[in-house]
């Protein structure tokens, strides 16, 4: 896979976060600029964007997506994945990885509230934090206005 195709986006503060011993504890993967964008929003609100490594599936085959996620998981030693769309290619790639590694936890339909909950809990058990963050994300979704 060429470097031009392998697009790995880090949040703007990931380097500084690494300096302060905040290695990524989860991977955010999905379409287009969604991963980098939502991680930048986490950084803007919490200053903890470095908790996540953002990986876009843009321009990648299914095999390349899986390879990049697998490599990032090994590099960072993380087993928690957040993806955007339940039927998206990043989600399917993680599901493939789960076949070999049942320790992996996957959260799909990720929104900003989900990630914010995770970053404020992720100093302990990342898997437990991921599971709790799902509830926050679910209740954050609302509809206001005329019926």
């Amino acid at each position: 896979m060429s470097a031009s195709i392998f697009r790995k986006m880090k949040s703007s503060t990931e380097d500084s976060a690494a300096d302060s011993s905040h290695r990524p504890r989860a991977i955010v993967a999905g379409h287009g600029d969604f991963p980098g964008g939502i991680v930048s929003a986490v950084e803007q609100i919490s200053g903890r964007g470095g908790v996540f490594r953002a990986i876009s599936n843009r321009g990648m085959s299914g095999q390349d997506i899986e390879s990049s996620l697998r490599q990032a998981s090994v590099d960072d030693g993380v087993r928690v994945f957040f993806t955007d769309l339940p039927g998206g290619s990043a989600t399917l790639a993680v599901r493939r990885m789960m076949r070999e590694n049942p320790e992996i936890v996957l959260i799909t339909g990720t929104n900003l509230a989900t990630l914010l909950e995770f970053v404020f809990q992720s100093d302990g058990d990342a898997v437990a934090a991921a599971r709790r963050s799902v509830e926050k994300g679910r209740v954050a979704l609302g509809c206001f206005g005329p019926p």
């Binding site: 896979m1 195709i5 379409h31 299914g62 339940p86 039927g87 998206g88 399917l92």
Partner: protein
């Protein structure tokens, strides 16, 4: 015609297919034609998770898809047929003369392939296969999502000048 899109896409079931095309075309079923997936229950379970519950996902190998194409075509619902690669679609097209249009939606980078579009990379033998489909009378175009420009295969392969883009 119930199959409203014949698509080549190496990701098979993913956001562009299920949502990007599926919603505007009001799709009720997808036929996934892949010899490897057709014989693997685990792979099928994986792809089933990628479609909403109201959408039917049918798995077939190429021989089965050729055999059952009339059944898909007589379905009152609308569907998409997707193959993982160009050779699979070519075999299908040769087996089902009714297929007159093919969409190249995602053939991504791999060793030996050259980039043609942002989402289309082709090896020499794949170019030959696409040309053969075109010469057999099939309209072959590249288009990743409905809102994108439909790119004629002659332009993808460098046989024609790019059409003027519209805003």
């Amino acid at each position: 015609m119930p199959i409203v899109l014949y698509r080549i896409d190496d990701r098979l079931i993913h956001g562009q297919v299920v949502v990007g095309w599926g919603q505007p075309l009001d799709i009720d079923f997808i036929v996934l034609v892949d010899d490897n997936v057709a014989c693997c229950d685990w792979e099928q379970d994986l792809y089933r998770m990628g479609v909403p519950p109201e959408m039917e996902l049918i798995f077939a190998d190429v021989a089965g898809a050729i055999r059952d194409h009339d059944k898909y075509a007589s379905d009152h619902r609308k569907g998409i047929l997707v193959t993982p690669d160009i050779p699979t679609m070519q075999r299908l097209v040769y087996g089902v003369p009714y297929i007159r249009e093919v969409n190249v939606g995602g053939v991504h980078h791999r060793a030996g392939r050259t980039q043609k579009l942002r989402y289309v990379f082709l090896a020499a033998d794949e170019e030959v296969q696409l040309r053969a489909m075109v010469e057999s009378g099939v309209k072959v175009t590249a288009q990743d999502v409905p809102a994108a420009r439909e790119v004629p295969m002659s332009e993808v392969l460098g046989d024609a000048e790019p059409e003027a883009r519209t805003a």
